[in-house]
Subunit: 360 residues, 2 copies
DNA sequence: TTGAAAGCGCTAACAG
DNA sequence: CTGTTAGCGCTTTCAA
């Protein structure tokens, strides 16, 4: 039964025409009505499907688009992936998926795999920095960053805010006197949420409730968020209140728990991602801290379960699905003329924040 | 800068050897140390990467493995996908992803796309039934089902239980007097959780707490679970207490809400998936039903947020990641000699179930 | 309007 | 041990 798939040659023979004609007919070229009809009939009858392998090889074109995310277990990236998939499907493009685990090395390895597959358009939630991505774009790949930008090498002064403001205009920050490789990466188009505004709004909201000791709980790729946080609360910034986890749930929990224990005087936490928010809720409960009575909590990402918590979590919503969809549009357009896009965030107030109770 | 990638020919020329030699060296064939060294050096220097397109075309082999899931926004499928990805990566195989939205038509379309890409091995959480999948396997694709089996055409009497019991032995049910196409599909290997045992344990647990009016809240692909449920509670089965949603969150919410309203006498609910569990929690809260005081809740899938709810949700845990990983192993082994695998579930008792309070 | 033929990058015979 | 050659399935000149 193992019927091997019909090739264009089979169709040609069965229809009594040349392979070129079949190719033309199937790609909408010119052909006499009679021939066209016959070819179409035979093709359908044989259940013929042109091989993408053959076609791509011949046209030295890519097959499909690559998608690199840190972790599909994180609902936000699931949403993002759904967006990409939706757009790709309507464009008839296959999507090759890779999960980086926020590990730059693994990311690089996956990029290599995509290259090997002749996938030369990729949407990435980047883990690696310029050193990973500059070579990639230089190798001729069309890349679009989603939800994040590659980490910039630490700078002396804080440029984070500047970059953020410029991005608000829908333009990637120019390579203002930076190293060449950094400029190459910042020329890559990206689809981002307006992290700066989101964080600022959240911090302002918390301050409005009287909070002064606000902690930031971040993870990989949250540097734009932490930069905005620093700007919004400081200076001076209480550096002990800014902690980072590595991306795993364990690490997030450890960071949250450590934070609460080392600084019992904090009254509010901004968790920079839903996995971190999860950890914060868990750690708070474990330490018998009541939300929002003892500690107020704002979480980045409006995942479905945010509403299920008690109290329901106040969140900064970012449009994961849209980010993915737009990124796919950009990468499919492909031209150099694509500019970055910044999508709005929204503070959704639910029940996890309250007025400061503790006196300082 | 748009350097096109080096081909095997480039390497051959630069190394002063024939293309065949390069091919051999790179695929570990025999070659003199001197030649091998030079080829390797040149290849590295040119950053040569063999094109999977060329190779696959030549070997009329597949490129990678396909993965079809209903919805990446559902954490369980995210876990499953991570498992597949992990295995595929260690095997060096790319994964082409498709999201079916639990729509058999879309699923069929995606299968067609995979076929076109010459992806002839696929892992699917199936939405369509035998009519979708029989042609696929007959077309020579190696498919492994994950987490679900294709829906069987409704039978007069209830065979669900039988099938389930046989699967417990690690064997797909034989085509005992069924239509030919059904038998073709049941010959396909699958990696499943032991849904029957999971549901039975949960029902037994609820009954032990005194519950008699237990509802089942299901979605697409939960027919094995509902069959086990029917067996565990009945007969007679109160059919009004068995409701199904279509897969969207809205539909799940509507189903849950409708259930609670139409049957205020129910005292416990078994949600057959995490999206349904989410809906049940939401609907209960909306209707001012307290969990577990007014209604006890058991949810299928141990997603991270289950612990965050108040009270934390009692769940039937199934190993999503393992299911994906094992499925990938099976599909990579590929031989006909692969048998189905059933992984254990575990009832994790947390706080969402209590003794029946209401008198009947 | 159509067909023949030349490859795309690669591997597998088959000679040397 | 190594090079030459013949395609894999397809598109695309180039003639007819």
């Amino acid at each position: 039964m193992e019927a091997k798939r019909a090739t264009i040659k089979d169709v040609a023979e069965a229809a009594g025409v040349g392979v070129a004609t079949v190719s033309r007919v199937l790609s909408g070229g010119s052909a006499s009505p009679r021939t066209r009809e016959r070819v179409l009939a035979v093709a359908a009858q044989l259940d013929y499907r042109p091989s993408a392998l053959g076609r791509n090889l011949r046209q030295r074109r890519t097959g499909g688009i690559g998608l690199l995310v840190p972790d599909l277990t994180d609902t936000f990236f699931g949403q993002l992936a759904e967006g990409v998939l939706a757009c790709a499907r309507s464009a008839g493009e296959p999507v090759v998926l890779g999960s980086t685990g926020d590990d730059p090395e693994r990311e690089a390895e996956l990029v290599g795999m995509l290259l090997e597959q002749s996938v030369d358009r990729v949407i990435a939630v980047p883990s690696g920095g310029a050193d990973t991505w500059t070579p990639v774009t230089r190798a001729g790949m069309t890349v679009v960053f989603a939800a994040r930008l590659p980490a910039e090498p630490a700078a002396d002064d804080d440029h984070g805010v500047t970059a953020d403001l410029m991005l608000l205009d829908g333009v990637a920050p120019p390579s203002a006197g930076r190293a060449a490789d950094v400029s190459a990466v910042s020329a890559v188009p990206a689809v981002l949420a307006d992290d700066g505004a989101g964080v600022r709004t959240a911090v302002r909201y918390l301050r409005g409730l009287g909070h002064r000791r606000i902690a930031f709980l971040g993870g990989p790729g949250h540097d734009r968020r932490v930069a905005a946080f620093r700007e919004a609360v400081g200076p001076p910034v209480d550096e002990e209140l800014v902690v980072f986890a590595t991306g795993s749930r364990d690490s997030a929990y450890a960071a949250a728990s450590g934070l609460f224990q080392s600084r019992p005087d904090l009254t509010a936490v901004l968790a920079a991602g839903n996995v971190l928010g999860e950890a914060a809720v868990l750690a708070a409960r474990e330490l018998d801290l009541r939300v929002p009575r003892d500690v107020s909590l704002v979480m980045y990402d409006d995942v479905p379960w945010a509403e299920l918590c008690s109290p329901p979590l106040t969140v900064i919503a970012q449009p994961g699905r849209d980010i993915g969809y737009r990124a796919a549009e950009l990468v499919l357009r492909g031209g150099r003329r694509t500019r970055s896009v910044v999508l709005p965030t929204e503070l959704i107030v639910r029940g996890s924040c309250g007025p400061r109770r503790q006196p300082y």
